[in-house]
Symmetry: C2
Subunit: 253 residues, 2 copies
DNA sequence: CTGGATAACTCGTCCTTACCAGTTATCTGT
DNA sequence: ACAGATAACTGGTAAGGACGAGTTATCCAG
């Protein structure tokens, strides 16, 4: 099964063979692969070599290993499509919060845990919000769950001058969420910008989102602007990449 | 240096220590880490353990290894910000193509290689374009380079009924690119949708984009709609995640 | 001074061996 | 019949050895 003189490393040949079997459907999503020891016999290589092959497939996000159980072909998790409509006034009036409404439409149980605290603005935040560095900001730090699995982190920062005395400084900001409270206070939103990128998670994110190796995260930084041109919120979001799709609509002119 | 009884695996402790030294600035971007053998002595562990630690940092995208040279702290590559303005008519009239214009503004040498061919539309493409499955489509398959390094793949598909006899079927579609040729032919764009996600690259993408392990890719599927409501193009893009930022502007209503 | 061989480094691959740590099915005593 | 110990699986961690292959500095011959 393994060609020793092809120039292709043995562990790669094993990984390629397993990947081909997965792509051919021989092993379907959720199926258990043969155990490492069985592969040792099947391919005629040592266990570290088999483990190197499996490690490669894990880093490619193709399989996941479960200690004591086995190695499994990764299931495609249900994907949440986040469209820009979630930021419209209409949906704000209908739902408790953007995230909860989004998830509910997908038929999932959505929950979230929120911590609220205050801190001086670092340079980047101060710059975007147009305040002096060190100005106190209200921080809303949230973990969003879908069916009790964490899928998204969101850290939202607003100048405290806008939040004192409002429900925004409560863990539950009430129906329509933070944006609804801001509009009630007379701040009318003009537009939002979202800056999207992706990277591998930090160790903190790996544990907070319970990520398997080989799962990247999507980072979205949203800035909310009011009709006066002021930026009133910076929201840094981190989402498990294989659980989200972001849909943006762009007018031609 | 390594605590054998902490319950934390040795390779993890080594990785954590190296990561901490990088974060503290002891090793800066581009710096060479101590060699594996030096780490074996420094931490008092075996070479496989050191390699496991380095493998972890590689899968996290923190370091890259170069055969014969050493292991280096990854440099943050220059990031290209892609704003939605790239799709405006104005920029189309100014530039040869969206990508080339974007990169040029960043001060990079941008080049691209294009292959054009024809194929029957698969179900997904036919569905989006609103044609019968199997209808022939024009495929523009491009590799975009920045300073001679590939950074993006793009596969664009259009119904051949719109492209026959136009420069769109040429490798170089002329000034303003494909979109300019479509507008000349009387197709006026109304809006675009972009669906953004991220994942680990396939082996093909890893070699085409010369990716180091631990680098995810951003996938963007763009669909172009004309004022008649018809979808005229589906563009599947794959970008090296650490080289791009996508900026979207969202009106509040 | 120059050019090329070489030695000494680097990481990459692969093996054998051993034990630890979760999971699960089976077996056994009540 | 049930509960709990246990045996037999699973992957996870770690050691040590050997050799291959790419890179670079050095040194010597011309």
């Amino acid at each position: 099964m393994i060609n020793r003189y092809s120039g292709v490393p043995a562990y790669r040949q094993v990984a390629d063979d397993i990947r081909a079997r997965i792509n051919s459907g021989e092993y379907g999503p959720g199926d258990k692969l043969p155990s490492e020891r069985e592969m040792v016999d099947a391919y005629g290589v040592s266990r570290p070599t088999v483990r190197d092959a499996i490690g490669l497939l894990r880093s490619q996000g193709i399989v996941t290993a479960e200690h004591g159980k086995g190695v499994f072909v990764r299931r495609l998790p249900p994907v949440t499509r986040l469209s820009t409509e979630r930021l419209s006034r209409a949906s704000r009036e209908a739902n408790q919060a953007a995230f909860l409404g989004d998830a509910a439409t997908g038929g999932f149980k959505a929950t979230s845990a929120t911590r609220v605290y205050f801190e001086p603005a670092v340079a980047r935040i101060a710059d975007v919000l147009g305040v002096e560095p060190g100005t106190e900001v209200c921080v809303r730090d949230r973990v969003m769950n879908r069916n009790d699995m964490p899928v998204q982190l969101a850290v939202s920062r607003l100048p405290r001058s806008l939040t004192t005395g409002t429900a925004i400084e409560q863990e539950n900001p009430g129906p329509g969420g933070v944006y609804a409270r801001l509009e009630e206070a007379g701040h009318r939103f003009a537009h939002f910008t979202e800056t999207v990128s992706a990277r591998m998670p930090t160790p903190d994110e790996t544990s907070a989102l319970r990520l398997a190796t080989g799962t990247p995260v999507i980072t979205v930084t949203r800035v909310a602007y009011t009709t006066t041109g002021a930026a009133v919120e910076v929201n840094d979001m981190v989402m498990v990449a294989d659980r989200f799709e972001l849909v943006y609509e762009i007018p031609a002119d």
